[in-house]
Amino acid sequence: MNVPGAPYTSGGELAGRTTRLMLYALLAIILMSLDFRERWVDRARATAGLWVEPLVLLVEWPYQASARLGEALRSHRQLLAEARALRLDLAVVSAELMVLEELRQENAELRELLDAGQRPALGYVAAEVRRVDLNPFSHRILINRGSRDGLQPGQPVIDAHGLVGQVDEVFLHSARVILLTDPDHALPVRIERTGLRTIAYGSGLNAQMRLTDLPMNVDLQPGDVVLTSGLDGLFPAGLPVGRVDSVERPVGASFARADLRARGRPDRSRHLLVLDPIVERDEIQHPAPDPMPPEASEPDQSQSAAGDAAPADAAPSDAGGSL
């Protein structure tokens, strides 16, 4: 047993090591189950996340620097071409906005006639996806806004195409966003054509969600547009979520299932908006006095108008046009 270089081969030592392995494994399993049930450790996790954050910033730094360098080296002609394309886009989008503005006013008048409360105005914070890869299982991304910018867990996150997810953990300069496609995520939705309300679960696959608890005789077809229902009080109603891909009615099962293709593509677009439902939903408020800054109030009124007055065609085409 006196092999040089192997001082730990005696029986007692081995038994001690096995005991320690068991203890550590037990500790790990306890931690995992606590984390899974979201008890106690989440506060410790949040503080530890703050300590780890500088490392993430360090990884991202060379990418940011190279991107900035690339911008600085771009040619004059390229910039002019881009400016022209953007101006064209702006013209198209502002024309669409004009139509929507009219719809919004009409909607506000109708609501006043019906004596209904005004829809809550939405504020938003623009954010960028951090160029950091997290593990492939959790459908989560890191964005470059954090508690310093007033983010809070639970805020919805959208991109130019549709809903992406919600803020999960907030650090100082960054926040983790849980995507709709995460298996842990459930979202109350409404089928736009029929008004059917149900819940969309993440599937763990890229850009796919599932509707699992549908009645067998449900009126649902591939191509149906799915919107948020707003019933959870967290996501504003009428945000585009996705499109029904396929509907299955397995023989012998008690519920029909459907696959959804999500509209928001966080893997493609780097620019996101974190929505901020500042105004309480039951608070009656006239559209004119807006607490937002002027450049913020334009698009978010259109946002609420798009979701409100014309969920059928205006919202998706608006989102497509603003690209």
């Binding site: 730990y8 494994a25 984390d35 993430v56 890869d133």
Partner: protein, 164 residues
């Protein structure tokens, strides 16, 4: 004495670089095949440098990895503690294996690591991973000889510099 100190610095430095490489952005298609840098470094430093031999050290590194990648707290910790235990158990034998056999052991250890992850992920109810997820250990083993040679060369150079 000073040689051990400089080894210590080198060990910490490589671990920091390994952590950064773990977070490094990669194209979507290659993401699953990302080598497990931290496990490779732990295996190297355990076998050759005689460091990171305590289960507690591996546990702490695993927790750090969990925090950084946003996995369930304790998932990497469990996998790395088991890796460390197996390494310690067979250390005397692995050290004197010829290189190809050593690489086979590394592959086995990394596959075991993936199986532990799969177990945890399965219990947590997340879906079955894409098949490319199993490429990770293969890529890691392909990198193992080069990492081994690089770290050996770095340590030798440092030792020469210290002694002269």
């Amino acid at each position: 004495m000073s040689a051990r100190d400089s080894d210590q610095v080198l060990c910490l430095l490589t671990l920091a670089v390994g952590l950064l490489l773990t977070l490094m952005p990669m194209p979507e298609s290659l993401q699953a095949a990302r080598p497990h840098w931290l496990a490779l470094l732990i295996i190297y430093w355990n076998l050759e440098g005689g460091r990171l031999r305590l289960l507690g050290q591996c546990f702490a590194l695993g927790l750090l990895l969990d925090l950084m990648t946003g996995t369930l707290l304790g998932q990497h910790a469990l996998a790395l503690v088991i890796l460390c235990y197996l390494l310690e158990r067979f250390r005397a034998r692995i050290r004197f294996f010829p290189p190809w056999q050593q690489a086979a052991v590394v592959l086995a250890l990394l596959l075991n690591d993936r199986i532990i992850h799969l177990w945890v992920v399965g219990l947590a109810g997340e879906g079955w991973p894409h098949w490319s997820w199993w490429l990770g250990p293969l890529v890691s083993v392909a990198l193992w000889p080069w990492l081994f040679l690089l770290l050996d060369a770095m340590r030798r150079r440092q030792r020469v510099r210290k002694s002269s």
